[in-house]
Subunit: 431 residues, 2 copies
């Protein structure tokens, strides 16, 4: 039989990487608690229509879609927001606002596999519903900054824009929503010339084209200076001016509340998902080209799923990309929990060894019992190889006196200790 492999685009996480993934997940969850975001778990399999509703053509075409055995058209979720929007439009419809929700898990997109991009990936997703105020946007930025800091990442920078700037221009010029979406998608891929071509073919005025072009070029690290330039460029477009003003308020609030964000403001920045309406952002580290997370405001989404209009802002943290960034930046490796093995000298003492392992685990020690019935010397050399800290050797002579042999694997010393003091002996040595 041929050896089986993972399906193309899928991957395994072996123990060291799995531990990093769970660490990021756990810190994300703790942060959710600290900010008052309640966790919900939604299914991986959702109705195709739900997921397709506002995903944007590009994602729609790359969904893992199929019919289940009952003939229902379903798909594996490519993002969390549609599922959370479904909850907000149905089961959570009547809950008072604001409502803060957290979800974490795996997502699926049939993208071309490449460095750091897989067809199964993980996100930790935070969404704040009910507030259209800039402090809600600022909270999402602050939370993202907090997460990256708590995970020990360095030198990351937030690329930030506002969908209202371009939409304000295009809307006032009478471009239809589909044309706007098409242009936004091209911009997300930095295909600016093509975007301009689409605008031209949609009969945009020369003034519109000039302004769009100017907006694309308006970017820089000095946030307030860039916003000033952007405002000058779009002064003839009322909604665009309001968008710049909104972004300024968000960034002012963030700064005034003591958060030091390194930013790269791009007035022409668009994200691929069609549902964004306001501020959008993506944090980057210099070591990898992909965004670690992606977030923004989407005030019209819930009503599209059949609910009341509810303003919303959120962020999806890319768990596996953050792990990649952590590995690239070689953060201090976590010190593995010290391990203990319990070795019976022969099969007569297996039960006693298991009993002792139980006692040690109750003291929160990580304990393995020798289950191979190998000779003590062999079990010890295996423990050595695996950097186990302590071995407990269970044999008849010591047992008669209520004792066992405790071996410090690093110091290569051993002594006879009373079983009733065993936990303390080991825990004492650990400190």
């Amino acid at each position: 039989m041929p050896a089986f492999k993972t399906v193309r685009g899928m991957r395994d996480f072996l123990p060291r990487d799995a531990e990093r993934m769970r660490h990021v997940e756990q810190v994300s969850r703790e942060l959710a608690q600290l900010y008052g975001y309640e966790e919900v778990i939604t299914p991986v399999v959702e109705s195709y229509d739900l997921l397709a509703a506002k995903a944007g053509e590009e994602i729609r075409e790359r969904m893992y879609a199929f019919k289940d055995l009952g003939g229902r058209k379903v798909a594996l979720r490519p993002e969390f927001t549609a599922s959370v929007a479904r909850l907000m439009a149905t089961k959570l419809r009547n809950k008072p606002k604001p409502m803060r929700l957290f979800s974490v898990g795996s997502l699926y997109r049939y993208d071309e596999p490449q460095y750091g991009r897989f067809r199964e990936f993980w996100q930790a997703n935070y969404e704040l519903f009910g507030s259209d105020k800039p402090e809600a946007d600022a909270e999402i930025l602050m939370l993202t900054n907090d997460l990256l800091t708590r995970l020990g990442l360095r030198n990351y920078r937030f690329k930030i824009g506002h969908m209202g700037i371009l939409r304000g221009i295009m809307g006032q010029e009478g471009l239809g929503e589909e044309q706007q979406n098409r242009i936004m998608q091209l911009l997300d891929k930095k295909r600016w010339e093509e975007a301009l071509t689409v605008a031209r073919s949609a009969d945009a005025s020369q003034n519109c084209l000039t302004t769009l072009k100017k907006v694309f070029e308006t970017k820089g690290k000095d946030a307030f200076q860039v916003l000033k330039r952007a405002e000058e460029s779009v002064q003839e477009y009322e909604k665009s001016v309001a968008a710049v003003e909104n972004l300024r308020e968000i960034l002012e609030l963030t700064r005034e509340s003591g958060v030091k964000l390194e930013v790269m403001i791009e007035a022409g920045f668009a994200r691929g998902l069609e549902y964004y309406t306001g501020m959008v952002f993506e944090p980057y580290v210099p070591e990898i080209e992909m965004a670690l997370s992606g977030g923004g405001r989407y005030d019209k989404l819930i009503e599209l799923f059949g609910g009341e209009p509810i303003p919303a802002v959120g962020v999806a943290q890319g768990v596996d990309r953050i792990v990649l960034a952590m590995k690239k930046q070689r953060g201090p490796p976590k010190i593995a929990k010290e391990k203990v093995v319990v070795i019976p000298v022969d099969e007569e003492y297996v039960a006693k060894a298991m009993e002792l392992s139980s006692i040690l685990r109750n003291a929160e020690l990580s304990v393995e019992v020798e289950v191979m019935r190998r000779a003590v010397s062999k079990a010890l050399s295996d423990a050595d190889r695996r950097a186990v800290a302590y071995a407990v050797i269970v044999g008849p002579e010591e047992l008669k006196e209520g004792k066992v042999v405790l071996r410090d694997m690093k110091k290569r010393e051993q002594r006879v200790v009373e079983i009733k003091n065993l936990c303390e002996e080991i825990l004492g040595s650990f400190r």
Copy 2:
């Protein structure tokens, strides 16, 4: 637009249930660490051939199988063991044994939805590779018992059997593997009469039929007495006798190592998955009819996936079923972490409120900022409704002196406190 729903058989976990699920997952992970099981994360989407290889016909027919956009036949995993076996036969092939692996996540089977049974469900999976000794089996039983105890479950009982008992009879009588599997499946569903009919149609001897029947009836809570009866029934079948003997050793080891297992031994107990070869078990609570977990020994699995022969024993803990059992037994509800809200008296103080929220979160408090710009009285009555413990009110008069108002929501008392003491004031009150 119609309100969207979850797909039939799928479900959402709202915050209280999601918290329970994550609690069981977290305790499972801690236990994995305590027993030396290393976590791996394998994909939800695997090749159909891998998953179908040894799943058993029944599960094979109920897989979520489909072709991906590249035309590959894939399926959503219906269990973890095939994926872990794939790892053991490939990437982990050359690692020294014993090897202990842990995985946790969602699984998919197109079963008829009913009470406690969904098409997406969660398991925490432990597998111990490399040991054919009874202490390995005993460790898996001990670990499962530890998990259920740590989660506060009561009155659970382990249904335990051994595949070698029935297989020993059928093998010696010359029944083919397929007939054996068919009979095992019927037995798993307690369709004993049909199982006997299949045996009869396969030309089993009268002696075989009589023995099978006797084995089905051999069960009870007094483990060693039942094993004695079983041994007498199968005395003409050498491998069956060895199987009974193996089970006795496992249970003796468990008892001698101080674990008090409540058991129901069933000599004719078969589990649905075809790959089990030795001891099999399922724990139950009286409140629900379904097994909380399922485990056993499967010594021939890895070679079927193209690896070397490696003995193995493992258990899949049913995370959502355990949550159901915990709810049924009404374990003491977890005390929710006390919350703080920070309310600016008007928009001028929003940034200050956010800054304070940061400081409080750094002290590990769960903090929400008022992001709706509601009047203080309205924000307070909302906080009251949500059982928030403390409100911090940020206004100009107190700020001038480096102070804020701290309100104890339960006592309905408030006082002015220095910002530099705010964390201590709140943490002090919490204790």
